[in-house]
Symmetry: C2
DNA sequence: CCTAATCTCTTCTTCGAAGAAGAGAAATCT
DNA sequence: AGATTTCTCTTCTTCGAAGAAGAGATTAGG
C-alpha cells in the first residue's frame, strides 16, 4: 500500500483482523468448524455446485467432502438437490436463511448498518465501489493461492 | 441494512465471503491451523498479552493454549518474553514481520493497494473512516459473542 | 514464616475431521 | 450391448488439536 497515510497499512490490517476475529467467533458460536464455514462461504459466493466441485475448491478429497456436506445439511445451511440431467450428480445449494448464523451475525450487521447509514449517497457510492472491486481482488488472490 | 440499494446486502455479504475465503486460503497455504490464525489475529489486533489472557480470549483452556503458542513461536509469528515484574508470567508478543504469511498475502495486498490507489484523497478519507469504524464494530460484536 | 492463591506448563485421554481405497450407480463411447 | 469413465458415498485408519487434571514455580496474605 503506497504512502497515502502513514498508518494506512496498520489501519487496514487491524480492520482485516477484526473481520476475521468476528467471523471466527461467529463460527464458534454456531458450533461450526473452520472448514465448514469456509465451504459455506464458497457456496454463498459462487452459488450451487456439485460435491466434486466443492471438493476441488476446498482442496479436500471426496470422502471428507461428503461428510462436510452432511454436517452443513444437517445444520440447515445447505441442501442436496438431485441433478435432473445427470442422475449420478447432486447439486449442493446454500439455503437462503441459515437460522443460527443469521442470529449470530445480527449484532454485527446492525452495527455495520448503522455505520453505513451515516454516510451520504455519494460516500456510499465510493464504499460499495470498493466492496465490489475488493471482492474480485480477494477472490482472484484466493484462487491464485489455491493453484500454487 | 436499510434500503440504500436493492443489492447492497448481497454485495456486502459477498465481499465478506471473499475476505474470509482468502484468509482461509492464506492460512492453508502457510500450514496454519484455524485456531492458530485466530489467535494470531487477536495478538496483532490487541497487542502482546499473557498466555492466560490469550486462553480467555480464544476460549481455550490453558493446556492447548501453551501448545498453540508453541506452534506460533516455532513458526516465527510470536515470541515469549518473560515478565520482569512477575516471574511467573510470560508475555506473548506478535513478531513484526511474519515471513510466510507476508509472502502469501502479498498478491492480495498488491491488488488492494492498486484499487485504493485509484481513489482520490477525499474518497480515501471515506474509505478509511469506514475501515476504522468497522474495526471497532466487529471487535465489539466479537466480544459480545464471546461473552454469551 | 507458612499457607493459600496465581500462573504456566506437562501429561494423558478423547474426539472430530482428513486421507486412502474401494463400492455402487449412472452416463458415455465404441 | 458391453466396457470404460465419471460421480457420489461408505468404511477404515490416522493425525492433530482440545479438554481434564495436576505438577512446579512464584507471589501475596495472615
Amino acid at each position: 500500500m503506497p504512502s497515502m497515510r502513514p498508518d494506512a497499512s496498520r489501519i487496514y490490517r487491524q480492520y482485516l483482523s477484526a473481520v476475521l476475529l468476528h467471523s471466527h467467533a461467529s463460527a464458534r458460536a454456531c458450533d461450526l468448524g473452520a472448514t465448514d464455514l469456509y465451504a459455506l462461504n464458497i457456496l454463498q459466493l459462487t452459488g450451487a455446485m456439485t460435491p466434486g466441485e466443492l471438493s476441488a475448491r476446498t482442496g479436500l478429497t471426496t470422502g471428507p467432502t461428503t461428510r462436510l456436506i452432511d454436517r452443513l445439511e444437517h445444520a440447515g445451511y445447505v441442501r442436496r438437490v438431485p441433478d435432473p440431467g445427470d442422475r449420478r450428480k447432486v447439486t449442493v445449494e446454500p439455503v437462503s436463511e441459515p437460522a443460527d448464523l443469521d442470529r449470530v451475525m445480527a449484532p454485527a450487521r446492525q452495527r455495520i448498518g448503522d455505520i453505513l447509514g451515516g454516510y451520504t449517497p455519494e460516500q456510499l457510492e465510493v464504499l460499495f465501489d470498493y466492496f465490489t472491486r475488493a471482492t474480485e481482488a480477494y477472490r482472484e488472490s484466493a484462487e491464485q493461492l489455491r493453484s500454487e
